[in-house]
C-alpha cells in the first residue's frame, strides 16, 4: 500500500512552517487555527508551491527533494486536490468538470456521487453539497494515489455539514487512499480522520487519535481546540492523590492529574452535570453560577454556566426547567479533569 512521506520547512510571514509526517492508507487531519500554515502543506504536496527545504515521496517515488533539486510539476504528481471553495470550472458542465482529467470514468463517477441528473448543469446552479460531490468526483477521476482535502466542509451551511461529514467519512474509508485533510474545525477532523495533528504556528503540537487529544491534551491550546473548558489556576497542594487548584476567580477545583505551578484545569462539556443544588454524589468539583446562555444542539443543550460550558440532554434541560439567569451548580468529577501547564 502507498505511503506518503513528507518533511517540509517553509518560512511564512510570522513564523516558520516545519513538519514531518508519514501518511499510510488512512485519513490524517491537520487541524489548527486559520493562518497556521495548513493550506501551504497541501499546496506543497500538490506541487503548487515549492517549500524552501523538504522532501516529499510516495512510496519510492520522489516528488520533491530540495537537496537533490528534484521537484515534480503539479501535473506529474498523482494527487486529487479538493479545494476549499471547490474551484469548479464555471464555464464547464458538471460532466465536463468531472471529465476534465479523464473522460472514460465520467458515467461511473456521476452515478457513484449521485450527480448524474446534474450532468449538464453548470457549477453556478448547484447547492454547496452538490458542488462538493462534483469536486470529489473530479479529483478522483484521475485515479490519484493521494487525496488532499482543504477545509472540506467550510463552504457548507451548518445544516448540510453534518450529513456531508458522514458521507465523506464513508467515502474516505471506502477508497482507502493516503488522505491529508486540513481543517480549522476539530469536529471535522474527529469525524473524518483516524489521526489528527494539531498545527499551531507552523508546528504540530500533538499528533494522535481524536480520543487521545480529548483525553490527554498536550497543552492548553489542544484542550480548548478539542472543545474542552479551560479554567486557569494555581496547583498548590497535593493530598490523597488529588491536586488542589486555587482558581484565579476564587474557589478550588480538584484533579487526579499531577502538575505544579500555573495550570489550566481541562474538563469537557459532556463531563459536567447541571443541577439546582449541589448534588450529594461522588463529584468533588462544584461551580455555582448563573446560566448565561442556553444553546440547543441536536438532542442536547449547551449550557453556559459562568465560565463553564456544560452539555446536557434536551430532556434533562426540560425536566430541570433551565432558563437564562437561573443560578445553578455545575458539577464534575476530579477524575474527569486534566491539568495542562499554562505559561
Amino acid at each position: 500500500m502507498d505511503e506518503l512521506h513528507l518533511d517540509l520547512a517553509q518560512p511564512l510571514r510570522a513564523f516558520d512552517l516545519e513538519l514531518a509526517l508519514d501518511v499510510g492508507a488512512e485519513a490524517l487531519a491537520i487541524a489548527g487555527p486559520s493562518g497556521a500554515g495548513k493550506t501551504t502543506i497541501l499546496r506543497a504536496v500538490a506541487g503548487l508551491v515549492t517549500p524552501a527545504r523538504g522532501r516529499i515521496a510516495l512510496d519510492g517515488e520522489t516528488w520533491l527533494d530540495t537537496e537533490r533539486g528534484v521537484s515534480l510539476r503539479p501535473e506529474e504528481r498523482s494527487v486529487g486536490f479538493v479545494f476549499q471553495d471547490y474551484a469548479l470550472f464555471p464555464h464547464l458542465t458538471v460532466a465536463q468538470n468531472v471529465g476534465f482529467a479523464a473522460r472514460a470514468r465520467v458515467p461511473e463517477l456521476l452515478e457513484r456521487f449521485r450527480i448524474d441528473h446534474l450532468a449538464k448543469a453548470r457549477p453556478g446552479e448547484l447547492s454547496g453539497g452538490e458542488r462538493q460531490r462534483v469536486a470529489l468526483a473530479r479529483a478522483l477521476a484521475r485515479e490519484p494515489r493521494v487525496l488532499l482535502l482543504d477545509e472540506p466542509t467550510a463552504a457548507l451551511d451548518a445544516h448540510t455539514r453534518a450529513a456531508v461529514r458522514l458521507e465523506l467519512r464513508d467515502l474516505l474509508h471506502e477508497i482507502g487512499l493516503p488522505t491529508l485533510l486540513v481543517t480549522h474545525d476539530f469536529e471535522d477532523a474527529a469525524a473524518l480522520a483516524a489521526r489528527v495533528g494539531v498545527l499551531v504556528e507552523g508546528r504540530i503540537v500533538q499528533l494522535g487519535s481524536p480520543t487521545d487529544l480529548v483525553d490527554a491534551p498536550a497543552d492548553a491550546f489542544v484542550a480548548s481546540f478539542t472543545g474542552g473548558n479551560l479554567i486557569p489556576g494555581l496547583a498548590s497542594r497535593r493530598e490523597r492523590g488529588l491536586t488542589e487548584v486555587a482558581l484565579e476567580t476564587g474557589g478550588f477545583l480538584y484533579s487526579t492529574d499531577e502538575l505544579e505551578g500555573r495550570v489550566g484545569v481541562v474538563v469537557h462539556p459532556w463531563e459536567i452535570s447541571v443541577a439546582r443544588k449541589a448534588p450529594a454524589d461522588s463529584a468533588l468539583n462544584h461551580v455555582r453560577a448563573p446560566i448565561l446562555a442556553l444553546t440547543p444542539a441536536g438532542n442536547r443543550v449547551r449550557v453556559r454556566v459562568g465560565h463553564l460550558t456544560a452539555e446536557v440532554t434536551a430532556a434533562s434541560a426540560e425536566r430541570l426547567g433551565l432558563r437564562q439567569g437561573d443560578v445553578v451548580v455545575a458539577s464534575f468529577k476530579a477524575t474527569a479533569t486534566r491539568l495542562v501547564p499554562l505559561a
Binding site: R43, P90, A101
Partner: protein, 274 residues
C-alpha cells in the same frame, strides 16, 4: 424632488446622446444610399476599403497572436519591473498618434536607427503596406493588451491550480481554463483594438503616406478628398461608419464569446482524441 432629479438625469442623458449622434446623422442626411452605393464603384474608394481591411486584419492577427500570450504572462507572473513593463505597454494609449508616426520613422525610416540595416538587406518599410500595419499595431495593440491583462487577472488562480492538479500542463490549462474564462474581456478588447486600428490616421499618414491602392486607407482618403470633392469625402465617411458598426455588432452578437470558445475547444479536442 426625486422626480425633478430623474427628469434632469434623463434630459442630460438625452443631450449627451444627441451630441454624439447628431454629427453621424448629419453625414447620412447628406449622403443618400444611392450616392453611397455609387461610391462602391469609385475605384479609389474601393482601393481604400481593401487597403483598410487588409492592413487592419493583418495587424489584428499580430495583436491577437502576440498580445494574448504576452497579456497572460503579464497577468500571472510577478517579477521586478512588472509595473514598468505594464506602464510601457499602456503608454501608446495616451501618446498622440503623430508621436507614434515620427517614432516609427525614427526607428525604421531611411535615416532611422534600423533604416541602414534594413536597406542593406533590401528592405524598405516606410510608405508601404507594411508601414500601415506597423502604425496600426503601435496604436491599436495597447487597447487589446490592457483589456487582456485585466481579463486574465480576473480569472481565479485557484481554477488554474485546480487544472494543474488534474493533470493538465500549463499550455492545456491556458487553453481550457484561462482562455475561455477570459474570452469575454478578450473579445471586448479585441473589438476596441480593431476599431481603433481601422480609424488610425496620424501615425499612418506620417509613416506610410497616402498612396492610393497601396497605403491610402479609408480615413486617409476622407482627408485627401476634403478639398477635392466634399461629397466623396462624406460618402467614404458613411462607408467607414457602416464598417465600424458592423465590427461592433459582430462582437456583440457573436453569441457570448465564452461559449463560443468552449464549443470550439471541445470540438477541437474531440477531433484530437478520435
Amino acid at each position: 424632488m426625486r422626480r425633478l432629479f430623474d427628469t434632469g438625469l434623463a434630459l442630460v442623458c438625452g443631450l449627451a446622446l444627441a451630441f454624439l449622434v447628431f454629427p453621424l446623422l448629419a453625414i447620412f442626411l447628406r449622403v443618400t444610399p444611392v450616392e453611397l452605393f455609387s461610391q462602391l464603384g469609385n475605384e479609389a474608394a474601393v482601393d481604400a476599403l481593401v487597403v483598410s481591411l487588409k492592413t487592419s486584419l493583418i495587424a489584428h492577427a499580430f495583436v491577437l497572436g502576440l498580445g494574448t500570450p504576452a497579456a497572460y504572462l503579464l497577468a500571472n507572473r510577478r517579477f521586478r519591473g512588472r509595473a514598468v513593463v505594464v506602464t510601457l505597454v499602456e503608454l501608446p494609449l495616451v501618446l498622440p498618434p503623430a508621436v507614434a508616426g515620427i517614432a516609427l520613422l525614427a526607428a525604421f525610416g531611411r535615416q532611422g536607427l534600423l533604416g541602414g540595416t534594413l536597406d542593406a538587406i533590401g528592405i524598405s518599410i516606410p510608405f508601404t503596406q507594411a508601414a500601415v500595419v506597423l502604425a496600426v499595431l503601435v496604436v491599436a495593440s495597447p487597447f487589446y493588451l490592457r483589456a487582456a491583462i485585466a481579463a486574465f487577472e480576473a480569472v481565479d488562480r485557484n481554477l488554474l491550480d485546480a487544472s494543474r492538479t488534474l493533470g493538465a500542463g500549463p499550455f492545456r490549462t491556458f487553453l481550457r481554463v484561462a482562455l475561455p474564462l477570459a474570452a469575454g474581456g478578450l473579445g471586448a478588447g479585441s473589438t476596441l483594438a480593431f476599431a481603433r486600428g481601422l480609424g488610425e490616421f496620424g501615425a499612418t499618414i506620417m509613416f506610410a503616406g497616402s498612396l492610393q491602392g497601396r497605403t491610402q486607407t479609408l480615413p486617409l482618403m476622407i482627408y485627401a478628398q476634403l478639398d477635392q470633392d466634399f461629397d466623396v469625402a462624406l460618402a467614404v465617411g458613411a462607408l467607414l461608419i457602416l464598417v465600424s458598426l458592423a465590427v461592433l455588432l459582430a462582437a456583440k452578437f457573436i453569441p457570448s464569446w465564452t461559449s463560443f470558445t468552449s464549443i470550439w475547444l471541445s470540438r477541437s479536442e474531440r477531433s484530437i482524441s478520435s
